[in-house]
């Protein structure tokens, strides 16, 4: 029965997304455009830090994928805040679906959206900008999947701490910029200032970028990404636990009407 209710919510969320997929389309096309601008700069930066064979796509594709995936974190929250804005939250809470089923149902669609976005960015970006994966494709997929799960859990955390949709929006954009910068998505980690390199491991994006870099640049099996994947899943667990401890279905949330 639980699966039935979660599936009902997932199907419902997919229908809502299908009615207005603008957000997802823009946040998938925009990074492809920016990759084109940044690839030459990243090529020079990667050569400077000891990657003579780099063409720039090794940083541009995963870097922009991580940045724009971070910008989709708000999607998890919007799925809840719009229920408050539409006054449908009380009736959803009064339905047989409990809080856990509602939140799982609400998380699946953003997770699928993130997976679709990352797939398009790596496949299309890889083809357009000549991203040569010298390591493991499986490893690349594992890191992308772990990143998507981590970001959805981060979205759940944001829901639990934000009271208004504007707070959610601010948290998403601020978090995206800070985490992308510190994690080495905006510029190679080795070119960051010393203090930033020291705090970088505290950011999940650092582990995502490290995993992507290993899968792309280091020849070998998927096991080279094992540690980054485990750390990302550790972040995901932490975010989910904090979100679960703070979130109450009866909390007042102010969404857009």
């Amino acid at each position: 029965m639980t699966v039935v209710r979660v599936r009902a919510i997932v199907v419902h969320e997919l229908k809502i997304l299908r009615q207005d997929p603008t957000f997802l389309i823009i946040f998938t096309l925009m990074p492809l455009l920016i990759m084109a601008f940044l690839k030459p700069t990243f090529r020079a930066a990667l050569i400077l830090v000891g990657n003579p064979g780099a063409n720039g796509a090794e940083q541009a594709v995963p870097g922009m994928a991580v940045l724009f995936a971070l910008l989709l974190v708000g999607n998890v929250g919007y799925a809840v805040f719009r229920e408050h804005g539409w006054n449908t939250w009380p009736r959803l809470v009064a339905s047989p679906a409990n809080g856990v089923e509602i939140m799982i149902g609400k998380s699946v669609t953003p997770l699928l959206a993130l997976c679709a976005q990352l797939t398009v960015l790596f496949v299309v970006g890889g083809v357009l900008f000549d991203l040569r994966v010298q390591g493991s494709i499986v490893g690349l997929v594992l890191v992308a999947a772990s990143l998507a799960v981590t970001l959805v859990c981060m979205g759940l955390l944001l829901i639990s701490v934000c009271r208004t949709v504007l707070q959610l929006q601010a948290g998403t954009y601020l978090g995206a910029m800070v985490l992308a910068g510190v994690g080495g998505a905006l510029t190679p980690i080795s070119s960051l200032p010393g203090w930033a390199r020291h705090v970088a491991p505290a950011a999940p994006t650092y582990w995502a970028m490290r995993g992507f870099r290993s899968a792309i640049l280091v020849p070998g099996s998927w096991t080279v990404v094992l540690w980054p994947v485990l750390v990302l899943l550790g972040f995901a667990t932490f975010f989910a636990l904090v979100a679960a401890s703070r979130f109450r279905v009866g909390d007042v949330k102010i969404g857009w009407a």
Partner: protein
């Protein structure tokens, strides 16, 4: 028994929203919940739906507590909150189907219950339309259909006709009556419209300041709390009257009596001896509105439109 509420208390900070409410509802019964704004109607509905936790007292739906046994209670209730709650970007059928799915309906059962709810609320021709393109009244009907699609044992309809036209109200009232009669659904129907509650032939509970001030059928409440009257208008000042309870204002005299028609022949000849000139006599029947005014000292916010006449 479907619903049992005993000595229910709920406060928000210093404000006592409910102060010892007792209500019982049986299968197929319609309870009209009347009360001015802030009387506690929405708080009561929210407590029954398990959206709020009571401070004291007991709520049981089918013998189960809404908070501690949330799943089984929520499977049995259908809630249409006071504020319109619909998914504007989805079609009517998608809105209604979603709640049927949440209640576990699948396959042909799903299609049948969705079709029935849509037909009951006269939404068949709008089924494929996006809710954002509908009128206010049509949205209200979708809002109600989402609450009753699973044929709940108890439907909590919190001001389902707020802000809609008389025809929409009439349709909603018809749907509510059908739901109670055909499926035995107990319906708790809060409203600002006296006529609507009278048209539903509902048992009523008048809430004021967090307490039920009166409960019973419309006729029981009227007979217990109000009297008919003879309203006499004079050319010049009205005379005094001491034989029955009466009110005198300038040229009008209102005499309260159980049998106004019969008492005309007793009262009018006596008045002719007072030397006044009687211009007209009118029998004033007591109404739910006059009872409400008498018991609460307040008028309902919404005008009491004659919905009964439209039904």
């Amino acid at each position: 028994m479907i619903l049992c509420v005993e000595n229910l208390h709920k406060s928000y900070g210093d404000v006592d929203a409910l102060r010892g409410v007792d209500i019982e509802m049986n299968r197929g019964e319609i309870l009209g919940l009347l009360g001015p704004n802030g009387a506690g109607k929405t708080t009561l509905v929210s407590l029954v739906a398990g959206l709020l936790r009571p401070d004291a007292g007991r709520v049981e739906v089918l013998g189960r507590e809404p908070v501690s046994d949330a799943r089984s209670v929520r499977a049995a209730i259908g809630l249409a909150p006071q504020d319109l709650g619909v998914y504007p970007s989805l079609t009517v059928i998608d809105n209604v189907t979603f709640f049927a799915r949440l209640h576990g309906f699948r396959g042909t059962d799903l299609r049948r219950c969705v079709d029935e709810a849509i037909e009951l609320l006269a939404l068949s021709e709008l089924a494929g339309r996006r809710v954002s393109t509908l009128s206010g009244g049509e949205k209200r009907r979708v809002h109600t259909a989402m609450a009753i699609v699973h044929r709940p044992k108890l439907a909590l309809l919190d001001e389902p006709t707020a802000g809609v036209d008389v025809q929409t109200r009439s349709r909603l009232v018809d749907a509510v009556r059908h739901l109670a009669e055909a499926y035995g659904t107990a319906i708790c129907y809060s409203s600002h419209y006296f006529g609507e509650v009278e048209a539903l032939d509902a048992r009523i509970a008048i809430l004021d300041n967090g307490m039920v001030v009166v409960q019973g059928t419309v006729s029981e409440v009227i007979h217990a709390h109000a009297k008919a009257a003879l309203e006499l208008t004079f050319d010049g000042p009205a005379p005094e009257w001491r034989d029955d309870p009466a009110e005198r204002t300038d040229s009008q005299l209102r005499i309260y009596t159980d049998e106004p028609a019969a008492d005309i022949v007793r009262i009018v000849p006596q008045l002719q001896h007072t030397g006044t000139s009687l211009r007209s006599v009118r029998i004033v029947h007591p109404t739910l509105e006059s009872v409400f005014l008498q018991l609460t000292g307040k008028d309902l916010v919404a005008p009491s439109e004659p919905i009964g006449a439209a039904l």
